[in-house]
């Protein structure tokens, strides 16, 4: 009874294709977004923005990219961090080496496109290689990215390990100076990330409702059957790699620019790829909202756990012990979730919705 969908009838095809067919969903989403845009920057402290919201947005962007590839198109990838690395480095270089008029969002889009092309190159083997065998291609991408930027220090502007990203990169056509706003403040970075991520999420949502998205899913479910019914399998796979790596590239750029504020190779080690794969699996393969649920859970879990460990046990154990126990619990959590709910948090949410729908009369 709390969550109702009765009484909404579509009377035209346009209405039938609406993004949020249920008024409750539409209003909830609208209120949520307004809250995120107008209220959060006012009430959230720098710590909350810098250490929680911004990284979640950046991770979420990359997780969304991986979900498009793995969840929607069924191509397993372990090279996410590698593609993020390409995106971040290219963004930096475009900003560094282009004339005045270049600005960060445009640079991210350009860098994302280049990353997408690189993704297509590493995705080419997927024409012939399937399943777990494809891991080798994405792993090659991961290690190649790290090696490439380590071997050619030109891309790091000849710095030794990391580059601190300069504040003036954030300036958008001098808006900051004109209105007296600090464009490199956390609030501005947060709004920039939020805007980009919302736009990309909306695009992904619409992509999945289009024939392209249905092609993706057909290829995932069985590519031979897909080719039989006339779906261009090769083109679909390449497009999936392009779109996915575009998202990962932008995610990587956000990760460095908005979150870490430094650019370095060590940010994008193998572990990062796994972390993002976890986000996608835990959130729910093939669900756009799921990518974000998973991101929140995976990102916040270690923080919450070490906080709880500190708070409850009052530092009776040293951090190494808490760390290891967190790892154990984390492993158990993943296995348990896969056993209980292979669809991830997104499926859990659907179940909850069903419960709300029938509440308080469960039958």
């Amino acid at each position: 009874m709390i969550y109702r969908e009765t009484g909404t009838f579509s009377t035209s095809y346009i209405e039938d294709r609406k993004l949020f067919p249920i008024p409750f969903d539409k209003w909830a989403m609208g209120v949520f977004l307004l809250f995120m845009v107008f209220v959060v920057p006012l009430i959230a402290s720098d710590y909350w923005l810098a250490a929680h919201l911004i990284p979640i947005l950046a991770y979420g962007c990359a997780a969304l990219g991986l979900n498009l590839l793995t969840g929607m198109t069924g191509q397993l990838s372990l090279g996410t961090a590698g593609f993020m690395c390409f995106g971040a480095f290219f963004t930096f270089n475009i900003m560094l080496r282009s004339p005045e008029w270049m600005n960060l969002p445009l640079a991210m889009v350009l860098a994302g496109s280049v990353t997408g092309v690189i993704g297509v190159i590493f995705g080419l083997p997927s024409i012939r290689i399937k399943g777990f065998y494809l891991l080798v291609s994405t792993l090659a991408a991961q290690y190649f990215a790290l090696w490439f930027f380590r071997s050619y220090p030109y891309f790091l502007n000849y710095a030794t390990a990391t580059v601190t990203l300069p504040d003036h990169h954030f300036d958008l056509f001098g808006i900051g100076d004109a209105f007296g706003v600090d464009m490199a403040s956390f609030e501005a970075k947060y709004l920039l990330s939020l805007g980009i991520v919302c736009a990309l999420a909306l695009f992904a949502k619409n992509l999945m409702r289009s024939s392209t998205g249905r092609n993706f899913m057909a290829v995932r479910d069985m590519d031979i059957a897909a080719s039989v019914i006339g779906i261009p399998v090769i083109r679909t796979k390449m497009l999936a790699f392009f779109v996915s790596c575009f998202y990962c590239g932008v995610g990587g750029a956000l990760f460095c620019y908005a979150y870490l504020q430094v650019l370095g190779i060590r940010t994008f080690e193998m572990n990062r790829s796994f972390e993002i794969l976890f986000m996608v699996i835990i959130g729910g393969l093939g669900s756009i909202a799921g990518s974000f649920y998973g991101t929140v859970l995976v990102y916040e879990f270690p923080i919450l756990f070490s906080w709880a460990g500190d708070y409850l046990l009052g530092g009776a154990f040293d951090t190494a012990v808490v760390d290891n126990v967190a790892k154990i619990l984390y492993g158990i959590l993943i296995i348990a979730l896969l056993i209980r709910e292979p669809g991830g948090l997104a499926a859990l949410w659907l179940t909850a919705k069903q419960k709300l729908r029938t509440w308080p009369f469960p039958h």
Partner: protein, 313 residues
């Protein structure tokens, strides 16, 4: 410049030896994949766990053989637990969730082994132990003296030993798979586990057995690797090194794991020395093996010896 033949041959031999080490890890993968279709990502942490358990026991001045037996028993118990609490509830789920479950298991084991033992880097003088336990208890010179000098080509004795161990293990496994009743039921399960259950093969017992055997293989591989790279988190990275190996050989073939290991071992060394020189860059070792694997897979999409997937609509 004259081509340095001795160096070249030394390179090949060295490559072959490190290939054997890769194969050791790869066999564990293949075993599980063969019997349950799972790509077991936890293999690397199992290596770490086994080696760490062994090292801590011997550091606590437990006798070599006792430590070995205790560790083996631990790995067997571990295998049974994994079957009971992970494999059985996850039966019939998609391969991707199974794969992710093993990644979860990897994190769990990593935390557990560092919680029970510690996360310091341990050296393991397996060569000392071997001399002490097996060959030359008085002078301890067989393994500790490192190299055989043969026609100016230096070969590490320990590598030869590793090769022999790997060879023996493969022989044992081959006989086990082809000749014994249990081995045949394993192959039946890998073929089609519903059909295997229908003819009365106890699925859960077979899986528990596979995980236990894999645990023992992980112990052996872990000890041999530990001698080279010390017992620490680097052992886990050995797994990622072994990935191209199994993929070249084909996920379902034990001989494939060996051949793949040799190809990667030699190819990697060759690439680093000659191709790296040619391109004027260093460190291409990190990704070169994946490229070799890619080239092979482009011609044989399911590996050299892997089972060709027949797909029907």
């Amino acid at each position: 410049m004259d081509f340095d033949w001795v160096f070249f041959i030394e390179l090949i031999v060295g490559g072959l030896m490190s290939g054997v080490m890769y194969s050791l890890v790869a066999i564990g993968f293949v075993l599980i994949y063969k019997s349950s279709g799972i790509f077991n990502f936890a293999q690397g942490t199992m290596l770490l766990f086994a080696a760490l358990t062994f090292v801590k026991l011997t550091e606590g001045s437990v006798n070599f053989w006792v430590a070995l037996a205790v560790t083996m028993a631990t790995m067997v118990v571990f295998g049974i637990l994994v079957e009971r609490f992970m494999m059985r509830p996850l039966a019939n789920q998609s391969l991707l969730s199974l794969f992710m479950a093993t990644v979860g298991l990897a994190i769990l084991i990593e935390g557990m082994s560092q919680y029970i033992w510690d996360s310091a880097i341990h050296g393991l003088q397996l060569a000392d132990f071997l001399d002490l336990a097996l060959l030359d208890p008085v002078n301890m010179t067989v393994f500790v003296v490192d190299y055989i000098d043969w026609l100016d080509i230096l070969i590490s004795k320990f590598d030869v030993f590793a090769t022999i161990v790997a060879g023996t293990m493969i022989l044992v496994l081959a006989v086990f798979f082809q000749k014994t009743r249990t081995g045949m039921s394993l192959r039946a399960v890998s073929d089609d586990h519903l059909a295997a259950m229908a003819v009365g093969i106890p699925l859960s017992r077979v899986w528990a057995l596979v995980w236990a055997v894999t645990g023992i293989i992980a112990l052996i591989a872990g000890l041999l690797w530990a001698e080279r790279v010390s017992v620490s988190f680097t052992l886990v990275e050995a797994v990622l090194k072994a990935l191209p190996v199994i993929l070249i050989g084909g996920l379902t073939s034990i001989p494939g794991a060996i051949v793949g290991g040799l190809i990667i071992g030699v190819g990697e060394k060759m690439g680093e020395i000659y191709l790296g020189d040619l391109m004027g860059v260093q460190g291409i070792e990190t990704w070169f093996s994946y490229f070799i694997a890619l080239v092979f897979l482009l011609f044989k999409p399911s590996g050299l010896f892997g089972l060709k997937a027949i797909e029907r609509v």
